[in-house]
C-alpha cells in the first residue's frame, strides 16, 4: 500500500484532535504542479522544546505508544517533503495551537500520490469528539480561475446526526464524493 499525501494529512488532523483542538481549519489548495496544505488548530500546542522534539523520529510523548520510542508522523512527513523538493513549516505555541504550512511539489517524482481526498474528509469528520473542522478545497487552474468547495463538520452533523450510524456515514461519503467529482469534472 502506498502511503499517500491524504494519509499523511489524516495523521496530522488526528494529532490536532488528540491535542484537544476545538477548531481545526484545513486549506487544500491545488495548483498546476503544487499542493499547498495549511492546517491550523487551537489545540494544546507545543513549547519550543516539544516542538523540536516532535521532529525527532525517536521521540515520543508516550501517549500513543506507552512502551516504545516512536515519534509522531512529523519526522516522516518532513523527510518525505524534503526528498521531493517541497517545503514544511510548523509553528506552535503552548496552549494556543499549532499551524502547519506545507507545500508538496507534485511535479517531483518522489512526491507520493495525492490519494483519495473525499476519503480523507470522511475519516477526518468521523473521529469522536466535539471538534469543529472546516475544510476548504480549492483548485486554481492554469488561467488562474479558482473553483472549490467548503465543508463544515457542525453543519453536516446538524443534517446527518451521528456520523457513526452507518446510514449517515454512507450518505456523507456520497456527499463528499459528489463535491469532489464535480470539482474535478468542471
Amino acid at each position: 500500500m502506498h502511503y499517500s499525501l491524504s494519509d499523511m494529512i489524516l495523521d496530522l488532523i488526528q494529532n490536532s484532535i488528540e491535542a484537544d483542538a476545538q477548531r481545526i481549519h484545513l486549506d487544500l489548495i491545488r495548483k498546476a504542479d503544487e499542493l499547498i496544505v495549511r492546517l491550523t488548530d487551537d489545540g494544546c500546542g507545543m513549547t519550543k522544546g516539544q516542538l523540536e522534539r516532535s521532529k525527532d523520529p525517536f521521540h515520543s510523548d508516550g501517549i500513543k505508544h506507552k512502551h516504545r520510542k516512536v515519534g509522531l508522523g512529523i519526522p516522516f512527513l518532513i523527510q518525505t517533503i524534503e526528498q521531493a523538493d517541497g517545503s514544511f513549516e510548523i509553528q506552535s505555541e503552548k496552549d494556543k495551537g499549532t499551524t502547519l504550512n506545507i507545500r508538496f511539489n507534485l511535479g517531483n517524482m518522489d512526491t507520493p500520490p495525492e490519494g483519495d481526498w473525499p476519503g480523507l474528509f470522511l475519516q477526518s469528520f468521523c473521529f469522536e469528539g466535539n471538534y469543529e473542522l472546516i475544510i476548504n478545497r480549492t483548485i486554481i487552474r492554469e488561467q488562474g480561475e479558482e473553483a472549490g468547495y467548503t465543508l463544515q463538520r457542525s453543519e453536516l452533523q446538524d443534517i446527518l446526526g451521528n456520523f457513526n450510524e452507518s446510514g449517515a456515514m454512507i450518505l456523507l461519503r456520497d456527499y463528499l464524493r459528489s463535491q469532489e467529482e464535480e470539482l474535478l469534472d468542471a
Binding site: M1, D11, E18, K64, L122, D174, S178
Partner: protein, 129 residues
C-alpha cells in the same frame, strides 16, 4: 453522480430516518471499530472502511455503528478491526483488507459465523465453531 446539495442531503437523511423508525428495533447494535493509528492508515485502513460501508450498503444492513479509533497497539496486524455483534463474543480481526471486510460483514455480521483466519484476539476455543 451529480453534485449533491446540503438540501438534498437533508432530504435523503430524513427519508432514511423515517424508514428506520418504522422498523421495530430491539435496541441492539452491531459495532465495527476500525483502528486508525499511523500504521493502520499506512496498512490500508481506509480501504477496509470503504469496503465495510459498501457491504453494509449492498446488504442493506441497519443498526450498524462504524467507528474509528486511534492506535490499537497491534501494528503488525493492521488494519485491525474490532467487531461487536449482539449475542456474539467481541472479536478483533487483523489484516483486514477490502475482501476480508466484505467477508466479515457477510459471515460474521449477517450469518453470525466468525472469519477464522483473521481473528487476532481469540475468544476461548469453545466459543468458535
Amino acid at each position: 453522480m451529480a453534485k449533491m446539495t446540503l438540501e438534498e442531503l437533508r432530504k435523503l437523511r430524513s427519508s432514511q430516518k423515517s424508514e428506520m423508525e418504522r422498523r421495530d428495533v430491539d435496541g441492539k447494535e452491531t459495532h465495527i471499530i476500525v483502528g486508525m493509528g499511523t500504521c493502520g492508515i499506512a496498512a490500508g485502513a481506509k480501504m477496509a472502511l470503504d469496503s465495510f460501508l459498501d457491504a453494509i450498503k449492498a446488504n442493506d444492513l441497519k443498526d450498524v455503528v462504524v467507528k474509528q479509533t486511534g492506535c490499537m497497539g497491534l501494528c503488525y496486524s493492521e488494519p485491525t478491526v474490532e467487531v461487536k455483534v449482539p449475542g456474539m463474543p467481541d472479536v478483533i480481526y487483523g489484516n483486514v483488507d477490502a475482501a476480508v471486510a466484505k467477508e466479515i460483514v457477510e459471515k460474521h455480521i449477517i450469518h453470525k459465523k466468525m472469519v477464522e483466519n483473521h481473528i487476532q484476539d481469540k475468544p476461548a476455543g469453545d466459543i468458535i465453531k
